[in-house]
Symmetry: C2
Subunit: 512 residues, 2 copies
């Protein structure tokens, strides 16, 4: 073994998304190359390379002086056998951080800058701290629409692009912010039952208590290999999968892993994230749902219109047919908030259960109708009636069960909520005049959703309902005592409901 | 042992500034409480508590199922003996991140918001990613002057405050950006020799190739316990110490540990950082040096004036006497860039060596003169002459040697540069018309400074000097082969010098 080689060792430590390398303090390379703890190092074999954060070890039981250790995920990602000879060096610094610093200073970046940033991120040259700096610098009004276009193109180019070999590949997407708004799981079986191709890949929750992938996972396997996905879509015309297994705009996934714990979700980043993912997934026609309401992501009609134009501007330049609908976002949709509770609502609608939440059914039918109208053979305005026929006739639930079966059914379907629960009761009698989407989402998250799938909130009263003092407004479910306590504390600070007079009820300001 | 207790173990892994905790995957608490790898956990004994990032362990040699491991620094910081019983729980989330998200959305924060943020940071509730988000959101023009005042007060309140029991405690500070500008190490012995109290605490480099603390460390110990610092200052009237050992505005140090690797340094953060540190150090009178030049931090006279007003606004409201001088920042000061090379320049000036860089001597005398004029007994305009007398008479070097002796002399003083070196030569004949401060700093950092103290750049030509083609402009020194290569690559891209005609030389636009 020459002096610059070390022996690879797998260290039994799970460091999740962060690659960590372990080097003994007396390792000759540590001293000669002047590595620092917490600096990044690059590890190479003949064909593979990986960048990892360095931890310095004083205990030879963890790594010896001639060894380099990798944490479990880093070892798997590196893909080189234990005891192989490897080399270690200083990684090439992320030069594109110079562009990020210019962005922090308020400058406009060009197309090449965005490509360089995406390239350095996908090469794992950015720390989470650096990605956080990029996301905040490029948040809100700090990117103009051409910069958002550049960023979308750069994220799209960072991974693979599916080609379904069909002229119409439909998709739908809600910008989020409305708890319980699980329409996708109803729209997809309706559209697929009609025969239109809708290979739906969804993300997990970013800042919400549940994403479509988290919810679908209550019913079926959602982590599907690209080849398997292709077979399912060929057979069923649709699927409901997690988008993370294919390399579709992988930079987007990496950035989301930082946005999620930070709880930030800016408009420019949102447009680039949604459109790059859809284009990578091979979509040709996309329906976007922007809910508007006092506690939704978009609070005013004028902002919704500005966001619509932004989607249209970027999508048009990337040859994606986009239609945007602006919907009523004054309150949560359906009753359940959290993966298990939302899956229960979806199944009730698909099964035409008389107790199914009417608002979820109605909204899903409206959206499905608009998607069906992408079909040149469907007359404008007829989509809704076709969608309703498919749902009422049982063809939608049949298609859903077929999709579940092909993706891999979760045996012994159990959508029961968490074992710890408490009710929040009305302290006065009156009419429900406000339900705060953000606070309800926060309560569900504090209770453990989406990580604890059975945690969440189940609403018993909606806007306009009359309540008597002492009547239950909603129930909170949790799996673990500490989360249970956090959620209770939060409800005591602000329960999220306002009870007033019937005439104080805010009017919906959207037609749809 | 009850079921919710674990046994503390020190794990021999050095994770530097990041606290890491290790829990075995089969530990009952890991499963019951639903902890996630990379989530934060809070560890408590009867009196001590610490927050750490969780790594999950599969190897019982690292931690057993009844143990909780802490990385070396986290263990030391926790301060509880090995094998003690401890408890583990979910930490209270950092509620002030809600304020940071409002800041990202462009809102103005109030005094309470800034106090809450500083409090959560000092309690270690922020990840580096979250601090990065705060720093970028609050960068540049995103904080108004009252917000900067609030942030300064909050950082000041986060730690201890020294009281020297004297009515005049002098200090000086340069906002940085000019390589080689090591005037502090000349000003302090002059001012202390005059008898004025100047207990100087400096930071290490943030984004530059050397800070005063890094440079002074070539000559003397700079990591002094508060009690020792007090003794030195009582005896010598001055010191040149690193400010990190006392708990002076500790939030500032934590934020700097994020700013440094990110390479960001915004004006609002700068003012808050400098003034909170000086106030915590007990200063009553402060001279601030703002160098202006095309490649310095401040590029135009109008920005320098705006920054001056900002310092004055915040300092006046916190009862600190501030004077701001705007200086010539067109090129590096002195010859050396990097801790060892800059220490050599300083010693040459103090020893009245005829080869000492004249510009460093001149600037240090000007600044020392202004500080001396804080003394009510010094007539306005006489400070410079007094400073020069102290330097020329040898009283400055005598005071410096006395300070070095009391702080703890580095034996066998060796200011020789790194063992690897290369020269950059002029490719044409002419006059040096530009030296890019940023590029020279970048080259010195790429060569390894400030971490490798002997790495850096030694300038042979300055603005206005005539050069012949092939003549050396500067020498780069490094300690390690990879850094040496990086620095060479960077010089080949852009050597930082422009050679032209004598009449192209930019005029200095400041009088000082």
């Amino acid at each position: 073994m020459t002096q610059d080689r070390l022996i690879l060792r797998r260290v039994g430590i799970d460091t999740y998304h962060e690659n960590v390398a372990y080097l003994h303090r007396d390792c000759i390379l540590y001293r000669v190359e002047g590595f620092q703890a917490l600096s990044k190092i690059e590890i190479c074999s003949n064909s593979n390379r990986i960048v990892a954060l360095l931890n310095v070890v004083d205990d030879p039981n963890i790594v010896g002086v001639n060894e380099l250790g990798l944490s479990e995920q880093a070892f798997d990602q590196f893909g080189v056998a234990e005891a192989s000879e490897i080399r270690v060096k200083h990684p090439e610094p992320a030069h594109s951080m110079d562009s990020v610093r210019r962005k922090i200073d308020g400058e406009r970046l060009n197309e090449q800058d965005y490509f360089d940033i995406a390239h350095d991120i996908v090469e794992n040259r950015y720390s989470k701290m650096e990605m956080s700096a990029f996301l905040v610098a490029a948040s809100q009004n700090n990117m103009d629409r051409d910069e958002i276009l550049f960023h979308t193109k750069a994220m799209l180019a960072s991974g693979d692009r599916l080609n379904w070999q069909e002229s119409l590949v439909a998709d739908k997407h809600c910008i989020g912010g409305i708890p319980g708004n699980r329409t996708t799981m109803i729209v997809v079986p309706i559209v697929a039952a009609h025969g239109m191709l809708i290979p739906k890949t969804s993300s997990r929750a970013i800042t919400s208590p549940a994403g479509t992938a988290d919810t679908m996972e209550m019913l079926a396997n959602v982590e599907l290999e690209p080849q398997k996905l292709l077979e399912i879509v060929r057979k069923e015309r649709g699927c409901l999968a997690w988008g993370g297994t294919a390399r579709l705009a992988p930079v987007d996934d990496i950035l989301i892993s930082v946005e999620r714990p930070l709880g930030i979700d800016s408009q420019g980043q949102m447009v680039a994230s949604i459109l790059s993912k859809k284009l990578a997934a091979g979509s040709t026609h996309l329906l976007i749902d922007i809910p508007v309401g006092p506690s939704s992501k978009v609070r005013h009609m004028r902002s919704a219109l500005a966001l619509r134009k932004l989607f249209e501007y970027v999508a048009d330049r990337l040859n994606l047919h986009v239609e945007v609908v602006i919907t009523d976002g004054r309150q949560p949709i359906g009753r359940g908030i959290g993966p298990a509770l939302e899956a229960r609502d979806v199944i009730q609608v698909l099964e035409n259960n008389p107790n199914a939440p009417a608002d979820l059914r109605q909204k899903a039918l409206q959206l499905a109708g608009r998607v069906l109208e992408f079909d040149p053979d469907v007359r404008g305005g007829q989509g809704y009636a076709i969608a309703r026929d498919i749902l009422d006739s049982g063809r939608a639930i049949a298609k859903m069960e077929a999709i579940i079966e092909t993706q891999g059914r979760i045996n012994a379907r159990d959508l029961s909520p968490g074992k710890l629960s408490f009710e929040i009761k009305a302290d006065v009698s009156g009419t429900v005049t406000d339900i705060d989407n953000l606070q309800m989402a926060r309560i569900a998250r504090r209770a453990g959703a989406p990580i604890d799938k059975r945690a969440g909130v189940d609403l018993h009263k909606k806007l306009g309902d009359t309540v008597k003092s002492g009547e239950a407004l909603y129930t909170v479910y949790a799996e673990f005592p500490s989360d249970f306590q956090f959620a209770q504390d939060l409800c005591n600070q602000n329960c999220g409901y306002r009870i007033g007079l019937a005439n104080e009820l805010p009017k919906s300001f959207v037609a749809f």
